[in-house]
């Protein structure tokens, strides 16, 4: 068990205060900009992480940036009615997942995966939440608009990058992020081999 005294050194206090005061997650370089270029910020962060583990506030790492946040299990105490986010519809959740795992992706591609048309409102809700953005047009006939996720999406879902999307490596390895046509061709060539 770490004694609080261990961290009462100047650097620990300094890093703690800087992260606490910051409006955004900070990288180690940014922290050094405040506490000194030669400081062992990495070491101080590790100490703070251990100190705060299991507390009501936790030191969290998102990619190469750090911030303090409340412990997830205390969410029920902190939810405020006005901030209660509207529950996403199933269509919304699936559409968001398809955009996140396939981006950039057109509306037609989303519909092909879901097997139904998506209403205009579904993507609007995701854009309004700040999770999805238009990501340019695809250079095919009709030049359809594509969609991609935003940095706001990553931070809302506690992801450092799209590589942290749950299960994305497995899905990729299983070919489940490839279109049906491509997957079919792959399987067919395997089947042919097996038939021989």
């Amino acid at each position: 068990m770490t004694e609080p005294g261990d961290l009462a050194d100047d650097l620990g206090r300094a890093v703690e205060a800087v992260l606490f005061a910051s409006e955004h997650p900070l990288s180690i370089d940014e922290i050094k900009g405040h506490v000194g270029q030669d400081a062992d910020v990495r070491g101080a962060l590790a100490a703070l992480e251990a100190l705060y583990a299991g507390r009501g506030i936790e030191l969290a790492r998102r990619g190469d940036r750090w911030h303090f946040q409340t412990a997830a299990d205390l969410a029920h105490l902190l939810r405020r009615d006005r901030e209660e986010s509207r529950k996403l519809s199933r269509a919304g959740i699936e559409t968001l997942a398809i955009i996140a795992y396939h981006e950039p992706v057109t509306r037609a591609e989303i519909e092909a995966i879901r097997g139904v048309q998506i209403s205009k409102g579904t993507i609007d809700v995701l854009m309004e939440a700040g999770w999805v953005r238009p990501a340019g047009r695809r250079e095919v006939p009709g030049r359809p608009l594509t969609y991609a996720t935003t940095p706001g999406f990553l931070s809302h879902f506690g992801l450092a990058s799209r590589r942290d999307l749950p299960g994305i490596d497995d899905l990729k390895a299983a070919g489940l992020l490839d279109p049906v046509d491509l997957a079919f061709e792959t399987m067919e060539s395997e089947t042919v081999t097996e038939d021989e």
Partner: protein
């Protein structure tokens, strides 16, 4: 929705997001990996569902009926002896259906895992009133000694009083030429070119000036009747001789 007395039948058509969604739900009921599902069983189940709905006179959306018709075709194609000419083969159609179901299922599960994460503003919260970090930008002004001196030189050049120096030029004035020509004229008996009246060794701009002044002096002396001027044609040599 259900007929009275029939509590086993649960059809909630609004709960499905289209035929593919319904098919996926039925496939998952087979409780096997989607890669191992029986497409034939799945088709049977779907058709049974649609038939039940019809018996209950539920209004099914058109796409459910289109899917039913397509699945009925697929079923018969799978069961009948295979026609090698047919393309795509029923097996290919079945496989494609299975692949689509796998993909939809993957995204459904991914979406569920995504929204189950600790979400910022819902499950975890940032400090609501941070003091904020401030970056104070300070300009560090740069200039070189060369820039400074050159600037002063530039100002000096720009503002120094301009002095116009008129260079002293070597010329023969008209008065001088008249004196000279009239004096020399007395020593000449024959017609002499105007050039012979110029000072010896005169060159450059001074010679040009002397020539011009001597010409004007000759005109003036001719006007006074003190000499005569002769020229055979334009630009031919000009001859002077004292008046008789």
């Amino acid at each position: 929705m259900s007929e009275s007395g029939d509590d086993t039948l649960k059809i909630d058509i609004d709960g499905w997001e289209g035929p593919l969604d319904l098919l996926l739900a039925l496939a998952r009921n087979q409780k096997v990996d989607l890669r191992a599902i029986s497409i034939l069983d799945l088709v049977e189940q779907y058709l049974a569902f649609v038939n039940e709905a019809r018996e209950l006179r539920l209004e099914l959306a058109a796409d459910y009926l289109v899917m039913a018709a397509w699945l009925a075709y697929l079923k018969s194609a799978l069961l009948l002896p295979r026609n090698p000419e047919e393309s795509p083969s029923p097996e290919e159609l079945a496989l494609r259906l299975q692949l689509r179901l796998e993909r939809l299922n993957a995204m459904r599960e991914a979406g569920a895992r995504l929204v189950a994460r600790d979400r910022l503003g819902r499950d975890v919260f940032l400090r609501a009133a941070p003091e904020g970090l401030r970056v104070v930008r300070q300009a560090r002004w740069e200039a070189e000694i060369y820039d400074l001196i050159a600037a002063y030189g530039r100002i000096s050049a720009r503002t120094r009083p301009v002095m116009h120096v008129v260079a002293v030029r070597d010329v023969m004035t008209l008065e001088e030429a008249i004196d000279r020509v009239s004096t020399l004229l007395g020593t000449r008996i024959e017609w002499s070119t105007i050039e012979s009246f110029l000072p010896e060794g005169a060159s450059g701009t001074y010679r040009k000036s002397a020539l011009a002044s001597s010409f004007v002096a000759a005109l003036e002396l001719a006007r006074q009747g003190r000499l005569e001027i002769r020229q055979k044609s334009a630009f031919a040599p000009l001859y002077l001789k004292a008046s008789a």
